[in-house]
Every structure is written in structure tokens, then in C-alpha cells.
């Protein structure tokens, strides 16, 4: 691919205290591409996502969105408008209704046509009809779906999802899978982490394994078999941080 990548990192490093989490991680992700990142617990998947979401600042190296360094302070709000982030925690206000939550974030991101956008998203995550119920009455899966809608409320170009499949029933999982395939078609770049190798491989254009602080395995889907991925994961993920 010759077009410049939407998101890239050069020698990204992150230390927690003195403990290195990421070491010299290089990543390139283009528009219209999705990448599934696997790795054992503590491999730094979440850290990577949080850095790309501008929530953490790397201790070394730099990450770029469209060649703009993520640390560029003057550009920060501009950058953040283009990034959507789904974290482990739902980032929803439990006492507010689904609609109020979405409207709040839509306002914060300055989304035009708020009402329509929110209705659209609620429909997409199949929460139509429940939009005026407080989030605390939702099941885990419903909350996860609403959290996903929240992350997409401002139609971000870069979509970062941390374990999006967790807490979803099979039906919702397959819906999410369809969505993750649909987003790249609309020119978005998607990066998500998962424990579920098969699901990730089925959805993403590329799969990568994070081990030892950088990508130890990074390959397009076409040239990866599930058996190969499982074998690679088994040999790499055991190697600690």
C-alpha cells in the first residue's frame, strides 16, 4: 500500500515506573484496514490502545495520526475528534439513560444533527426501545453495546476497541463482527484487541501478536491460518511481558 498510513508508531516505548511495557513498537495502519492485536495479559495491549487514544503519553518514540504526532499539544482537540476509544470500562453514566449518555458525548464532541446520529447509533447497537432506561438497568452485554455506540458517536476515523467482544452473547458478537468489517469499508481504520483468536482472525484484515513489548507476529489474514496463528500465539505469548 502506497498511501500514507492513518496511524503509525515509531519505536514506541512505554515504561510503567522502570518496568518496560512497550519496547520499540512499530505499527502502521491504513484507512480501510482493521488490525486485531492478540497477546497475553499484561503484554501491553491496553497500554498501546491508551497511548493511541492520547490517554497516555509514551515514554519514548512517537505515535502519529495522519503524520501528526499525538503529543502535539496544539493539535490535541483536533486529533481527539478523530479517535474513538472503547475501553474495558464502559465510560457511561449509569444513572443517566442511554439517550442522555449518547447526547452528552455527542455534545462534547460537537456532533451535528445530534438527535439523528444518536437514534441511528442506538438502532445500530439494537438498543432502540430501551433508550430512555437508565444504563444501570442494562445487562452487561447491553452496556457493552452502548459503550460501543458511545465510542463511535463522533464518527471517528480511527476506532480503538479494547476487548470489544467481552460480555457479548454469540448473536451480539456476530453483529459486532459485521460492524467491525463494515467500518473499514467506510474508510475507517480499526484496531482492536482480543483474546479470541478465531473471532479476531475472522474479522480483521491483519492480525498481530504483542509480545516482549512489540509486535512479534504481524501478518495479513490471507496468509495466516488459524492453526498457524494458534501455534504462533502459543509460542510467543508464553514469553512473558
Amino acid at each position: 500500500m502506497s498511501a500514507p498510513s492513518l496511524v503509525s508508531t515509531r519505536n514506541l516505548e512505554f515504561r510503567f515506573g522502570a518496568r518496560p511495557v512497550l519496547r520499540g513498537l512499530n505499527l502502521d495502519l491504513h484507512r480501510g484496514e482493521s488490525l486485531a492485536v492478540f497477546g497475553s495479559n499484561g503484554a501491553g495491549k491496553t497500554t498501546l490502545l491508551r497511548i493511541l487514544a492520547t490517554l497516555l503519553r509514551p515514554t519514548g518514540g512517537e505515535a502519529f495520526l495522519d503524520e501528526v504526532p499525538l503529543s502535539a499539544r496544539a493539535q490535541r482537540s483536533h486529533l481527539r475528534r478523530r479517535i474513538g476509544f472503547l475501553s474495558h470500562q464502559s465510560m457511561l453514566y449509569e444513572r443517566l439513560t442511554a439517550r442522555q449518555n449518547l447526547h452528552f458525548y455527542a455534545r462534547m464532541y460537537g456532533v451535528d444533527n445530534r438527535a439523528r446520529r444518536c437514534a441511528e447509533l442506538l438502532e445500530m447497537v439494537e438498543l432502540g426501545g430501551r433508550e430512555d432506561d437508565p444504563v444501570e438497568e442494562f445487562s452487561k452485554g447491553m452496556q457493552q453495546r452502548l459503550a460501543l455506540a458511545r465510542a463511535l458517536v463522533h464518527d471517528p476515523e480511527l476506532v480503538l476497541l479494547d476487548e470489544p467482544f467481552s460480555g457479548l452473547d454469540p448473536r451480539a458478537s456476530s453483529r459486532l463482527g459485521t460492524l467491525l468489517q463494515d467500518l473499514p469499508r467506510r474508510g475507517k481504520a480499526v484496531l482492536f484487541t482480543s483474546h479470541h483468536l478465531e473471532m479476531g482472525l475472522g474479522v480483521a484484515h491483519r492480525v498481530a501478536i504483542l509480545s516482549g513489548g512489540s509486535f512479534a507476529f504481524d501478518s495479513p489474514r490471507e496468509s495466516t491460518s488459524l492453526e498457524g496463528l494458534v501455534a504462533a500465539y502459543a509460542s510467543l505469548a508464553g514469553r512473558g511481558a
Partner: protein, 240 residues
Amino acid sequence: MPRWLAAGREVAPLNATPPALVICVKDLQQELKTRESFTAAFFFALLVQLVFSFAFDFQSLGLGFQDVGAGVLWITLTFSSILSLQNSFVIEREKNCLAALALCPCDPSSVFLGKFLANLIFVLAVQAFVLPISALFFGYDLAAVALPLSLVVVVNAAGFSALGTLFAAISVRTRRSELLLPLLLFPAATPVVIWGVKATRLCLAGRGLEAYEYLVGLSACFGAIFAVAGVLLFDYVLEE
């Protein structure tokens, strides 16, 4: 010139609601739904007054309310404010909404201003209910001093909330935030409490505004200083 520099700072569209206001409205919505902050602060304020009337038996000691009333009112206000300040950020921490706020494409100072505004409104709402009740309890004429007293309360509560919002955001990031907030806030808020008590005492004694306008001015300065400090420093508090 690199492309990212040329792109220029993005300006929010004019018709958009300022983020600070959006946050404040969100907090009010939440509070209207549950009333948990108000209920807790209100009943706590009543309890404090109750304990005071037990502790200082005004009637048999022959104390008038203007002698100790200012102190009672300020202890009530500061202690109950701590509760709502705490709650205001505990709510944000529950599902890590704090991170979502930090990620919003607005200036971190807007988050501070929004939370500050919402906190101030809570404190004043609680006071609006507590003051009449304390007037009933302690038998002083609230109507006669209502206007100057509310000026004193508004200005000093603003100063207290400005510093309190900053410190609540700090303490909520630590383990045992509920212990840390009073520990941080009470000593640092000494000035605004002293000036508030002094002004309230003069006010309750029926003195004219000119007798304590300098105190109100000083409290306003206190509020301004820490509001500016909050605006400038909140970025570091929000950062993960």
C-alpha cells in the same frame, strides 16, 4: 511547514454549547434523577445543626444566634459541601468516565469549569434549604438579612467550591479518596472560611454591607485565584 502545523487550531462551531456548560447540565441531570448528592448533603447539614444545638445549648446559655450562628452556618456549609464535592467525582470514576472526559476534544479547563459550576449549584441549592430551616431552629430573622447573607454565601461558597473541585479531582485519583479530600481541603480553605464566618457574623448582627464588603472582596479574590489555578492545572489532574 509540516501538515499538522498548517492544519491550524480547530475552532468549535459558534452554535455549539460550551463544553463546560454541557458537563454542568449533565451533572444536574444526573442529580435530578437520583438526588443522592442533595439528599446526603441536606440531611448531613441538618444533623450538624442538630449536634450544634445539643453541643451549645443556646437557650440556657443565653447565647443569641448572632453570637455563634455564623460558625454554625459555616461548619454546616463546609462539611456538607465536602460530601457533594466527593460525590461529584466519585460518579466520574465509577465507570472511568473521567478518562472519557479527558479524551473529549475540549480544553481540560472546560471540564474543571463545568464540574465547578455544577458543584457550586449543588452547594447553593443545599444552602437554600438549610438556611430557612436553621432560621426556624435558632429563631433568627432570615428575611431581614436574606439579601446580604446570600451574597456572602454565594461568594464564599464559590471560593470553597473552586478549590474543592480541584482537590476533589485530585483525591479521587488516589486510594482512600474520602479520607484525603477533607485532609487537603480544610486547611487550604482556611481563608475563605475565616472571611466567610466574619462576614456572616457582621451580617447576622445587622450591620450594613459596607462593614464587611472588604471580606466579601477578599473571598472573591480567593475564588478567582483558585479558579484560575484550576483552569491552568486541571490538565495535569485529568491526565492518566
